[in-house]
Symmetry: C2
Subunit: 258 residues, 2 copies
């Protein structure tokens, strides 16, 4: 009995040593003491977890380097007459709008990763030319990357529309519905079409109150399962050429109208 206990005892000690060595190696590989300090700081820890468990596009949000570089460019570009501005996030940014609508004075004011706050922050630059038209599509990143509530995004939209009405009353504003995502085929956490639909419904009402034009894109991009149709995307969120062609079709009459 004593011998058996002894074996168990040393086995147990051995196992502990093994675990300790394993732990040390793992910590060393992840960055040693610095990693440990970071992990042990609880607040930091939570923040880290959030970021690593979210899409990397997180980097490109409001006040990201890209936001800074792009707004710097927007400020340097000269204002022109009768601008037709496309304002929004990556969906707008990635659109070759001048190529889609040639011979019009179109300006791309999309910033990949941008949110309603990012738009509010740069709205003065956008309306500094007193544009003829603004086509706005923003809010997906608010829900997706920042985990905002629908009501919070909606409140920001109220501020955006109010500002536009006050500071550039002659501008025709077109509020485009959010476009669905496909999180059945693609692993997109933190974004649900139910929330996009709920926001769209409130946006439609708000747009009418401001006597602006609401444009439903959502219902045209969705398949029978209420998911972004795979004909229009390769990542479940962004649009391919077919997607932009459909988008063009849906807004063409508003873009080209006098």
């Amino acid at each position: 009995m004593l011998t058996k206990n002894k074996i168990l005892f040393w086995l147990s000690i051995g196992l502990n040593i093994f675990f300790l060595i394993l732990g040390t190696i793992l910590i060393a590989r992840r960055g040693g003491i610095a990693y440990l300090v970071k992990k042990l700081s609880f607040a930091e820890n939570i923040k880290q977890e959030e970021i690593t468990s979210r899409p990397t596009r997180q980097q490109n949000r409001f006040l990201s380097p890209y936001y800074k570089m792009r707004t710097n460019a927007f400020e340097l570009f000269p204002n022109t007459e009768n601008e037709i501005i496309f304002l929004g996030d990556s969906l707008t940014d990635q659109g070759e709008w001048q190529e889609i609508f040639p011979n019009l004075n179109i300006k791309n004011r999309g910033i990949s990763g941008d949110t309603t706050e990012g738009v509010i922050y740069r709205l003065d630059e956008v309306i500094s030319s007193k544009p003829q038209k603004i086509f706005i599509l923003i809010g997906t990143n608010d829900l997706w990357q920042e985990g905002k509530k629908v009501s919070e995004v909606f409140a920001n939209y109220q501020m955006i529309l109010k500002t536009l009405k006050q500071k550039s009353p002659q501008t025709q504003v077109f509020v485009q519905s959010l476009i669905p995502v496909n999180n059945q085929k693609f692993n997109l956490k933190f974004i649900k079409n139910e929330n996009l639909m709920a926001l769209n419904e409130r946006l439609q009402q708000l747009t009418t109150e401001y006597s602006y034009q609401y444009i439903d894109l959502y219902s045209h991009f969705v398949n029978e399962k209420n998911q972004l149709d795979l004909n229009y995307t390769s990542d479940g969120v962004h649009l391919n050429g077919n997607g932009y062609m459909l988008w063009k079709e849906l807004i063409e009459k508003y873009v080209k109208a006098e």
Copy 2:
């Protein structure tokens, strides 16, 4: 003695159980069995390490979803006469070229994350309109994201220029030098200005051999420490509005020449 041993024994067992529970929790938090299987597969493991230790822009390379979506759009856009094509990666993609050079038939054929291979793969589409001019700037991601050697990138450039000469001999081709990065101020691994300079030198020679126009951007973007000047960037690689204004200045005469 026996009691002391017993205490040690149970302490050791207790520690064993503690480590086991800790390990289980950590694995569960990281994705449970799936995580374990992935980690235990050695090849997979190495691949993971590589990817996480490189910039996240890695995702957007050749044949990434973004590449697919963007080339799909390029194929759907109609060819027009006398196109002036900007061909390249994110530096080109992020440029509002139609706004920088208004009233010219400019097409943005930049794809963020693209490499020389990506360009070779889509070159037929680019020259399908028999463009008047092509301004090319590609290769940074080859060196940075893919760790290619200068000679490998150069070989791809040879293929690009050869193809252009053969398939679209009337097109004026402008080979723009690679733009420096700033890896003193920013944490950019895997990219050295020495390599960019070495490639530029060989590109200049090659361009002359093909009787195309080489445009030196590098020396204008660099500060006295041979780093991308901080006036032109917020992330050490990409350009802000000041950067695009400088770029404009450097190529304007070539863009506007008949």
